[in-house]
């Protein structure tokens, strides 16, 4: 089938798509967006998390045929040109990235959390990231990154406010 889907704000089209392939495969192999990672392929690890109609989902569990005429936003669509999103910046600064495989999914999940809950408590952060597995960091640096991003978003750099969340 031919799939028409808006990806990161741009209308995209892919031909000869098999309905049974995943949205993840469509993004990575047909549309050239390898940011979303293919790990468990079972919805267990969250590495493939993308926004589908503004809601984070595991793209490995969405059949490509189901995204016709819908909107997808991937980790590639979070930055504003060369300017990283505050969540991405915080992941870099807090040392929340080691091998990096889980990072795109965690960045999207954390981005969504801070959209919904700008100042999350630690239990809220833990629960929101429960569907994203990381085998390197032990999660502590990831929690640091989310706290830092929350602080940055509340008081953007250059606003003159104190950056209490940076270490």
């Amino acid at each position: 089938m031919r799939v028409n889907v808006t990806v990161n704000g741009e209308p995209r089209q892919a031909d000869d798509v098999w309905e049974g392939e995943s949205l993840l495969f469509l993004l990575r192999e047909r549309l050239g967006l390898p940011g979303s990672k293919n790990a468990c392929e079972q919805g267990e690890c969250g590495s493939c998390t993308v926004y589908l109609d503004n809601t984070p989902v595991c793209s490995c569990l969405v059949a490509a045929g189901q995204v016709q005429d819908r909107e997808v936003r991937t980790v590639e669509g979070l930055a504003d040109g060369d300017r990283l999103d505050p969540v991405q910046e915080a992941f870099v600064e807090a040392g929340a990235v080691q091998c990096g495989f889980c990072t795109p999914g965690l960045v999207v999940a954390a981005h969504d959390l801070l959209d919904r809950v700008p100042q999350p408590s630690d239990p809220e952060i833990r629960e929101a990231l429960a569907g994203n597995l990381c085998r390197c960091t032990g999660y502590e640096k990831i929690l640091d990154a989310v706290r830092l991003a929350a602080t940055r978003k509340a008081a953007p750099r250059g606003s003159g406010a104190q950056e209490s969340g940076s270490r």
Partner: protein, 334 residues
Amino acid sequence: MIPFDYRLAPDVDGAVAAATGWGGVAFLAGGTNLVDHMKLGVAAPEVLVDISRLPLDAVEELPDGGLRIGATVRNSDLAAHPAVRRDYPVLARALLSGASGQVRNLATTGGNLLQRTRCAYFQDLSTPCNKREPGTGCSAIGGYTRQHAILGASAHCVATHPSDMAVAMAALDAQVTVLGTSGRRVIPLVELHRLPGDEPHRDTVLSPSDLITAVELPPLPEGTRSLYRKVRDRASYAFALVSVAAVLRVEDGVVRDVRIALGGVAHKPWRARRAEDVLRGSPVDGSPADEEVFRRAAEAELAGAAPLAGNGFKVPLARNTVVSALRGLSREER
């Protein structure tokens, strides 16, 4: 994954028509269990009928105070619905204790009811399983049984139903509306799922072309409280070892209405009628003396438990979880 035919259902009747007459057919909604099983080779439908765009995604408050939940309402939307949070906290809590945010954002009401067991042997094509391949035997019996059933199992299957949502709905006396080739019918949720018996490959009483269109919750009388308590091996994103959905109404120090369902212990959400019988009419005043009644009720239900080699702990765990759930409800501020 083997090739299959994909059809987008044009409307609700058309979905049933498109699914009729095929040997291997499945409705596709959120896909969180089906797409996964197709990749593993556990499911291999010839035809997928995509129902995710049908207008079955509304939650309606009914004139009698009940709630009608469309089959394709997402788990996260249902958990966040104001009427669910206000009137059926047991359901909101059960939904939020299941899976992860990403999965709840895709998973639907109908699909949650029809999800299949997470028995590791069922998902592993290299091991015999009567549910996956009838007549091949059960690898769990004599195998690793920490997650398996203690109630209502058979010599052919000891799998558990994995849903949290369905356990809450069982305690709420939910009714499931089904559209099939011979029309519409309503099935009490507690009769939707089967015990394994000698046909463990049949999870429910539905036929493959039966489409769940809605779940209705009857209203709860004023003064009714409810909660969901789930015990699992880690704090989040794990299936229940034991869970308890409890609905309680105490008036003038006497239990007037009580409904309890257990998860993680059987092939279906387990309605604990024996425990309810013990509790109904019993005096309950929020004092430590209540504990004895709660314990007797739980023990009455669990008298028929038949634990396996690896899950004997579930019997006292289920008892204690029932007691603590009832304690929590009976001591809430009035």
